[in-house]
């Protein structure tokens, strides 16, 4: 049985429409108008237990709405959802016992309480035995570097400290399914690295199923082998990250450091290669590796110009996703 099963899931919101100004507000009192917004448009996918899947899309694409339906907070307008065999909305409390959720910019910890007290309260809610809690607290405090924070109230913490605390609170009851909605938003590189490492370990040790929503493609490359891509509420891709990289990653870049000030005459390049930028002695080219090779381009450029140095750039996920959003899959 899949850990998460989604079939033709749809969420439609009714959004009140108001004309501008006081007159519009007054009119809205007597003639309220609503427009329908399809936030999630009949999507289907499933996650096996222990999978870590990236869920990506631009702002407003429907990622968070999907996660909220999977957690049981929002009820679907139509379609079928099962998380660990349960309907998450109808069995919200039972579902909540087996899941953990992080919403990147919101805290579920108690604002005025010290972290240790907050975590103890979480342990009580999930009925974690005291001995197990103490052991987990020690482990989490070490891995997430929380030792100094345990006696600190949440309201006095920095964003990175809060996020590490949030992760501890989300995973301390060893949930079987975890939804991470932008867990690394606004964090510095070191904190991101620590969080990614922690998530990897949790997945490996406990077989936790993870659905990760992020704009940071570094998170995806580091943690996920499979991605779901959503655009305007529709699921436009469900498959291996590697497949996407191969399909859209045929283009490479080459950077040349030239001896002179730049190009004196037009540069003749093999078919499939083009100049993307040229500033002073720096020249950047983009080429399709199916149509021509790096060595062909290098020899062509070197036969026409004096080259001091050059490098080849691999395609990054950001540029691939840009291509997909621009309609690359259609």
């Amino acid at each position: 049985m899949p850990a998460i099963e989604v079939l033709n899931l749809e969420k439609v919101f009714s959004i009140p429409q108001r004309d501008p100004g006081l007159a519009g507000a007054f009119k809205g009192l007597f003639q309220p108008r609503y427009t329908k917004k399809v936030a999630v448009d009949k999507i289907s996918f499933s996650l096996e237990a222990g999978e870590v899947v990236g869920y990506i899309g631009v702002n407003g694409a429907g990622k968070s709405t999907t996660i909220k339906m999977l957690t049981g907070i929002l009820s679907p307008s139509s379609g079928h959802v099962r998380v660990l065999g349960r309907d998450p909305h109808k069995e919200r409390v039972a579902n909540a016992r087996d899941i953990g959720v992080v919403f990147g910019q919101r805290t579920q910890l108690w604002w005025d309480l010290a972290l240790r007290e907050s975590l103890w309260l979480v342990a009580k809610i999930y009925e974690i035995p005291k001995v197990k809690f103490v052991a987990l607290l020690e482990e989490f405090a070490h891995v997430l570097e929380l030792e100094e924070l345990l006696s600190k109230p949440i309201r006095t913490m920095s964003l990175g400290q809060k996020m590490r605390s949030e992760l501890a609170a989300t995973l301390i009851h060893s949930p079987r399914v975890v939804y991470l909605d932008e867990p690394t938003i606004g964090l510095d590189v070191l904190v991101k690295e620590r969080i990614r490492g922690f998530l990897k370990t949790q997945n490996k040790q406990n077989g936790t199923t993870v659905l990760l929503t992020t704009h940071d493609l570094g998170d995806i490359e580091e943690l996920c082998s499979r991605v779901l891509i959503i655009d305007s509420g529709k699921l436009i891709y469900d498959g291996a990250l590697e497949t996407i990289k191969q399909r859209f990653g045929t283009h490479r870049t080459m950077k040349f450091e030239l001896a002179g000030a730049g190009l004196a005459s037009p540069l003749h390049l093999p078919d499939g290669a083009e100049i993307t930028s040229q500033e002073g002695s720096s020249l950047e080219l983009r080429f399709d590796r199916v149509r021509c090779s790096a060595s062909q381009i290098a020899s062509s450029v070197m036969s026409q110009l004096e080259v001091l140095d050059f490098s080849i750039g691999e395609p990054d996920l950001t540029s691939i996703i840009k291509q997909i959003y621009a309609g690359g899959l259609s």
Partner: protein, 272 residues
Amino acid sequence: MTQSLKFMRFLSIYTSFGLLEIQRIFQYNAWFWVELGRGIIAMIIMTAFWKAIYADQTQLAGLTLTTTLSYVILARALNAANASSVYWWIAQHISKGELELQLLRPLDFQLLHLFRDAMSWFVGLLRSLPALLVGFIVFSAQLPTDFMAYMAFFITFFLGGIVMFFFEFMLGCIAFYTTEVWGLSVLREGIALFFSGAYIPLNFLPETFRVIASATPFAQATYVPISFLAGVQNPANLGNAILSQLISILVIAILSRWIFSKAVQVLTVQGG
């Protein structure tokens, strides 16, 4: 696991949230002094007002000046000690888009808030003590000598609080549809002003209004307990009062749970 052990665990979890509320209340102490000052000013005005009303008569609506003064001073001192904040809490969390985080906990949302409010009522009583002392020392209000009057007060105070909680919870559910409840809260305040008995004992209302007012959650939470403590109502009526409150709790609790189950389906999380 035995049923009693399960129950103890259940109590322990929900009580923890109640204790958390007490901790939170004590962190914001400035309001205590504001409320005390406001209560004393209200006592001065109301004492002068009722003394003027009773200037040439010994009894009104079956109540002596002493009884009426005791009632209004107690009503002021215990002002909203068993009130519920769930109504504002739900509305604010919905408008900020934070209710989702609360619904992610494997707890009964309504019960959790009932425990929070119930714990705050103990604090409410404690915080009323200075105002009560001022009432009795400065304004000569009288406390009953019958132990049963105190019993009646405490029982109906907590049951009244529960009635009010479920009622406010129902109002809070409106925010799921409207995302704000300010207008409704103004209306609610206006109705509560007359029907709760917080300013005048309900005995002074015309018969029809008195019957209607007595049946409202506002009166169940304010008039009923204070009338026992002020001697307006005989402790022998406790049985009837409890029965009436229990029926109110049963009806409003069932209704509020049903409304919540419907309201939560229309939740639109603000801010995506």
